[in-house]
């Protein structure tokens, strides 16, 4: 799924001035990045670049992991064996995406346990979208279509992000993400072409997920203080508003084609700009969800903490087994 690059903790989380660093190294680094070169783990990099990347990649990883929860909620209730196998495969992919990303972040000198601890302590953020509940089966199709669709829009440009391990993780993720979106759209298509009740269910899911999906791209550009620096460093390749516009432009015709209505009375095609004009998401709601006030935020964190605690004996047993085996070989 995807990263929102929201500030976490206090506002002093913004990249610090880099005056303490060797100006010639810094200039050389900036020039390399500006020339679209890739930075690899052993290359010199400014501390703020490293910190921003750790925050962004770990948020992205946490989003994949927490993102398994809303969909996992429907595995046992999928309407057919086919849909169940597909959903299982998708949730399994999300776990894999989380692992690729945690590994990419570890090349920057943080550890898996540190990142997990930050998530479980509520210090690290993850995408706001996963703090909304999945109430009906139609939500599962809609998530694939909209949420994974938005994720692709964000992640495709990140395949060219300046940090090599992150870019390579994105290549793998994007390759797998296309299945996620298509299976979602296919599921929504089936409902939209079904009984009146099924179609109403698809419309209801679209109504509830549309605005949270638009919020996935993050706050408006004028309220996104990290954007300019991140774009200069090629950690981000498009602004939040640019990506949001692109998403609306490709998604509206997809909804129309299957007879669903985007829940936005202000939505209108603007011939001059060659794109849609659309309403403003409820940014107060967005910032409330960022603060941890999302409808199921508590439930999500409880589920993650429970998984960690319940899994403790498995981790301990695996380590004990490995130790015993190595003693046996040594003996």
């Amino acid at each position: 799924m995807y990263v929102q690059d929201v500030k976490q903790g206090a506002t002093n989380d913004r990249p610090k001035p880099m005056a303490v660093e060797d100006p010639s190294r810094l200039a050389a680094f900036e020039a390399r990045v500006a020339a679209d070169e890739f930075i690899e783990p052993k290359d010199w990099m400014p501390e703020a670049y490293r910190k921003t990347l750790v925050r962004q990649i770990s948020q992205h990883a946490h989003s994949e992991i927490v993102g398994m929860l809303p969909e996992g909620n429907w595995i046992s209730r999928a309407p057919s064996l086919r849909r169940k196998a597909i959903l299982l495969a998708k949730v399994q992919d999300e776990a894999g995406h989380g692992l690729y990303l945690y590994c990419a972040a570890e090349t920057l000198g943080t550890s898996r346990d540190e990142m997990t601890a930050a998530l479980l302590a509520g210090k690290a953020k993850y995408s706001t979208i996963f703090n909304y509940p999945t109430l009906t089966w139609a939500d599962i199709g809609t998530i694939g279509w909209l949420v994974d669709g938005a994720a692709i829009m964000n992640q495709v440009p990140l395949q060219r992000t300046s940090y090599g391990p992150y870019a390579r993780a994105m290549v793998r993720v994007c390759k797998e993400e296309s299945f996620h979106q298509r299976q979602g759209y296919e599921a929504v298509m089936a409902l939209a072409a079904g009984t009146a009740e099924q179609k109403a269910m698809a419309q209801d899911a679209l109504n509830r997920w549309w605005w949270p999906s638009l919020m996935m791209f993050g706050p408006p550009d004028d309220q996104s203080p990290n954007t300019a620096q991140s774009m200069r460093w090629r950690i981000k390749r498009d602004t939040n508003d640019e990506l949001r516009q692109k998403f609306v432009d490709v998604t509206v015709p997809q909804a129309e084609a299957i007879g669903l209505t985007i829940p936005d009375p202000d939505l209108v095609w603007n011939e001059e700009k060659g794109g849609y004009d659309f309403g403003t998401p409820d940014w107060d709601e967005f910032f409330a969800v960022v603060r941890g006030e999302g409808p199921v935020a508590m439930e999500r964190m409880e589920a993650r903490r429970k998984a960690w605690d319940d899994g403790a004996w498995v981790r301990d047993a695996a380590m004990a087994h490995a130790e015993k085996q190595s003693q046996r070989i040594a003996a």
Partner: protein
């Protein structure tokens, strides 16, 4: 033969942005000499910008005899591929 140099697996990064790729192996007494040797053997024509050497003995490989049970289960899961899903031609960008 006594005192044979240990074997190291050699990985070369062709350029930044690409992963290190296995290119072969080299015998050397220690890691530093393995890097020097790999540099001479594998990167004489600008093949790369970075080298990794890993003691061959440290690599755990899957058993070829297990290939069936490890990899064949993926064969009947075509639904993991985007082309499994039929989306009409008039739907774009999906």
């Amino acid at each position: 033969m006594d005192g044979e140099f240990p074997l190291w697996e050699v990985f070369v990064r062709a350029k930044n942005g690409l992963a290190h790729r296995h290119v072969g192996s080299i015998h050397a007494a220690d890691a530093k000499m393995a890097i020097d040797g790999a540099r001479d053997v594998y990167t004489r024509r600008m093949e790369g910008v970075s080298l990794w050497v890993v003691p061959s003995a440290q690599i755990t490989a899957s058993d070829p005899g297990d290939a069936g049970k490890l990899f064949e289960p993926a064969a009947d899961k075509v639904y993991r591929h985007p082309t499994f899903y039929v989306v009409p031609d008039n739907i774009k960008h999906i």
